[in-house]
Symmetry: C2
Subunit: 601 residues, 2 copies
């Protein structure tokens, strides 16, 4: 089997870079010990090796597809996968004890999920989506709702889904038209259509719990009139019987990639008899849904990072085994060809991939830890962690999705023509990855969130907290002579962010909000370079601390040196583009005004 991730990197992140023990020292997580946690990770790896990775290609070659009559055919292995994930705690494990969970830190939960996505990104979505749906019900649902749905979802018997998108609305949730008419006692008749519903119908689960956004009759217009409903395919009665509900799968979408993960079209209430159960308060649905979306956004970013990691590992293995060509300095055609990993250009492609994938996974661990700290702390500390997580979430979603595609393209390029053929998996990684910049909010939506909401929230306090955190890392790095130059460069990039924001904020102050936000995506790119640079500096600090010990084995020494080398690579090859983004953002010209739509032909 091709290696698809580096478990050593994961250990390094959990232990040395992001200090897992700091999390489990908190009372909320004190039942978790590092040794057991790591055993869970190793067992997750075995599960992925045995039940997921071997089906990666097959689930692409025989995609999930709609057969008619509401039937979506999925791979026969899917049931085993979901069952195994459930039994091992990878659906409900992060839930609190009171809801039947294991109260695991997200750091641990997401580390395992990283392994699953890297092994087979066409299957992990099913059970991570269930985890997210159950978390939403535990957060906002009634006791009865929790008891009715959550245990079945945790057991992998029922599939949870998110039903937001409608054909006419796309990213614009304001324009949702699915309607809800009160029956009684919190029950509503639902009518409408939802598209792009991942896991919306398949063969591996008995029931489907659609967390559905709809508009109660007479609700205020826009996002302030959206409510959240549980709409199951079979409605569980008090006696335990399941009554068929008027929601059915009318078709699916065939996709360029992630073909094992079905994408369905659901019709609610076609016979006027679709029953939904209100979750939380009327008209407050979107803010509830945002909890799930925020987790899902981190999940998508981590997913993109994980697919990029798998593609990197596949291309690395090839580069270590494939002899071809000679160094330019070797003129003798009779000398044996060298392994392609010895070519500088191949090293550049591999280091770029490594920097993107491992840097992104580090950011995912940063976000997971923040999520744990929000969970396990109170007051001012909690608020600070929450603000920083809010700010990082759109970046976490976007950087791996965008740069991961570039990374997977380099994996193909490393294999040359072979990489483009279906004989190798890198082309599947490339196809699979592209969806990551689209679902759970496109790159454009994330960028508006970053610049339009997160940067300005609480008068810029989230950004200040980020800046302090980065400055702390810079200070630590400056203690090592060998890291000083990089620490200084990151300081300069922080200043540049500040300059850019000072320039942009003028437009907002003048009331020209459209112009303020017009290059939000470029700002996202600039911020991402700085945030991933921070993650790499953090890793270099941790590695440098380890290297101070003189009794390291040569292999261990090389491992830590490789982290420092990759940090240097990121700073030399990637970070310079942050200044280019700043130059774009500081321009006096406004070239994407809606008045300019005429220029297209």
């Amino acid at each position: 089997m091709t290696r698809y991730t580096s478990i050593e990197h994961l250990k390094f992140l959990l232990q040395d870079v992001h200090d897992f023990n700091e999390v489990v020292a908190l009372p909320h997580f004190s039942h978790v010990k590092w040794e057991e946690a790591w055993m869970m990770i190793e067992s997750a790896k075995q599960l992925a090796d045995r039940d997921m990775a071997p089906y990666f290609r097959e689930m692409d070659e025989k995609p999930a597809h709609y057969e008619g009559n509401g039937v979506v055919r999925t791979h026969p292995q899917l049931k085993t996968i979901i069952q195994q994930a459930a039994e091992n705690g990878w659906i409900g494990g992060a839930a609190k004890f009171e809801f039947g969970g294991m109260q695991l830190p997200m750091m641990l939960f997401n580390a395992a999920h990283h392994i699953f996505v890297a092994a087979n990104n066409g299957c992990q979505g099913y059970f991570s989506l269930s985890a997210g749906a159950a978390a939403l019900i535990t957060s906002f649902g009634s006791k009865e709702q929790v008891e009715t749905f959550v245990p079945k979802i945790f057991a992998g018997q029922w599939q949870g889904t998110m039903a937001l998108t409608e054909p006419q609305a796309g990213s614009s949730l304001t324009d949702i038209t699915t309607s809800a008419t009160s029956i009684k006692d919190g029950f509503y008749k639902i009518k409408g259509q939802k598209i792009f519903i991942s896991g919306g119908q398949h063969e591996a689960c008995d029931n489907f719990v659609h967390l559905t956004l709809a508009r109660i009759e007479g609700a205020p217009p826009g996002v302030k009139g959206i409510s959240l409903f549980i709409v199951p395919k079979f409605f569980p009665e008090k006696n335990g019987n399941l009554t068929p509900n008027d929601v059915f799968c009318a078709g699916d979408f065939q996709k360029m990639g992630q073909r094992g993960y079905c994408t369905t079209h659901l019709v609610f209430g076609d016979n006027g008899n679709c029953k939904g159960w209100l979750v939380g308060e009327p008209h407050k649905g979107l803010s509830c849904m945002f909890q799930m979306m925020n987790e899902a956004r981190i999940g998508v970013g981590l997913g993109a990072a994980s697919v990029a990691m798998a593609a990197y590992q596949a291309s690395l293995q090839y580069a270590k085994e494939r002899p071809q060509g000679r160094l330019a300095s070797e003129k003798d055609p009779l000398k044996s060809p060298t392994l392609i990993i010895n070519h500088a250009d191949v090293q550049r492609m591999l280091l770029t991939q490594k920097a993107i994938a491992e840097g992104s996974i580090s950011l995912a661990m940063e976000c997971s830890k923040l999520s744990d700290l929000v969970q396990a702390t109170e007051g001012e500390a909690k608020q600070k962690h929450w603000l920083l997580l809010e700010l990082l979430t759109p970046i976490m979603k976007t950087y791996p999705s965008e740069q991961g595609s570039r990374s997977a393209a380099l994996a193909i390029q490393t294999l040359g023509g072979y990489g483009y053929t279906t004989d190798f998996t890198v082309q599947q990684h490339y196809r699979d990855l592209k969806i990551m910049s689209l679902y759970e909010g496109t790159t454009g939506i994330q960028s508006l969130d970053l610049l339009g909401r997160k940067v300005v929230m609480e008068k810029g306090r989230a950004l200040l907290i980020l800046s302090e955190s980065i400055t702390e890392t810079i200070k630590q790095a400056s203690a090592f002579d060998s890291l000083k130059v990089y620490a200084n460069e990151l300081s300069e990039e922080l200043i540049r962010i500040d300059q850019v924001l000072k320039h942009l904020i003028q437009f907002a102050k003048q009331g020209d909000i459209d112009r303020y936000l017009s290059d939000a995506t470029v700002f996202m790119e600039q911020m991402s370079y700085v945030v991933i640079g921070w993650q790499w500096l953090k890793q270099a600090v941790a590695a440098s601390q380890k290297l101070r010990k003189e009794d390291l084995q040569s292999q261990t020494r090389t491992f830590y040196e490789s982290k420092i080398h990759t940090m240097k690579f990121f700073f030399r090859y990637e970070l310079p583009h942050a200044a280019a983004c700043a130059k774009v953002l500081m321009s006096e010209e406004f070239l994407t005004n809606s008045k300019d739509a005429l220029v297209f032909d």
Copy 2:
């Protein structure tokens, strides 16, 4: 039918930017008149509309595939396509009269081929490959070889191919092992295997003329011992009979994209009876092949630009028709959604695509014109055109291939989730495009060619000629007040290229050729920004000249203004990354040394 190119842009390039009339003023092309040439383009567009574009999706959905027994099933329309292309002169049209061609300028020929690729890139390869193979035979083959093969290829009855790549050698032609043993009179027994042979076997032609690289027994090692052979599937006897030859198709490669265009595995001489016919001198095969490869590299670059153009047009059409969301300044959710083309982020994505696609097509016209000038001039002038073409060829191959993929990703992004589904074509464009950075020499190979050969050839004379040409455009632009600032920026980028080369050349002078070449791909990127910036400034100059006339219709005025707007966009959003590349290249650190291969895990 979805619009797939802008014929107006093509006209602008041919007439106003690259002055087609300058070419047809030369005696060699004086039989061609603009009006007739344009009629040919319009008729090519009709042909593409009728016989190619309608099959674009179908050729992907039902890919060419190997059925066993040497049979490769291709789309039934392919025969019509090749026949129509042949009858309309799009295989042999650029050949000289003496070879039965129409002696058309490459500017015209490639303009038509741009239309064909944009319409259906899964079919154009077949007949453009035939055109290249026939050109090779007319350049280096004997009279008898020309008479035997060329008319059949021009008629579309026989398919020409390039058989270079071998499984063990990949990009390293030095390591080719296919052998040739002399029989008599220039005939040889060929033995070996070739892979990735586009169009190597299919149902639409009667015979296959494989231009094959092999090593004559006793030849010097390396590239100096490679000879070129014609190895047909059926050998034409003097009496006109066709004798089956011992070359057969043993399988194919299924690919992520460009699935209509078959990619085969050929076995030569498995029964010890494969007859090849030497072309040109023994051991001089590679330099002959390079003629075809250079043309093919321009063709691939143009192809990538054309697919990017088709993806741009598809996403543009969607953006003009799809209402979704509101501008940030519009707070009223009851207002109707706006068309997405009015969102700044969508405009940014469209302008990026337009800048990449149209800029690349402009460079293709520049190269095609140079090719015509090389053909039609003599002495010092010819040498200058040739040098500039040599320098531009790897850039022409690479920029559209690499940036085209980014462009097609933005086409998907413009459509949102829909773009990822097989209901729309942009995902096919994205998949198809990725091959362009791989075949005819990967990006790494092109970059080594640029920095290792072209930049240093004749003591840097090619680079000097390019610099003079760009400076000429800068001078023209400076005559327009509105273009001065951009002209100055391009001057600065020229200086930056110079600084980078001064830095890099030190390593070559010290004999460290590996380090000199280590970041050739980054240098390629920097050069590409400058060269495409030049093409955009050239277009802006031509548009500004047109706009001086006061009697233009409003629509025409908008058209020219759109070119200037796109130039500005390229300079504001893309060109700043050239400086970032320079920063990478000027670094004192060397992080991709072969000694560092240990860092990968």
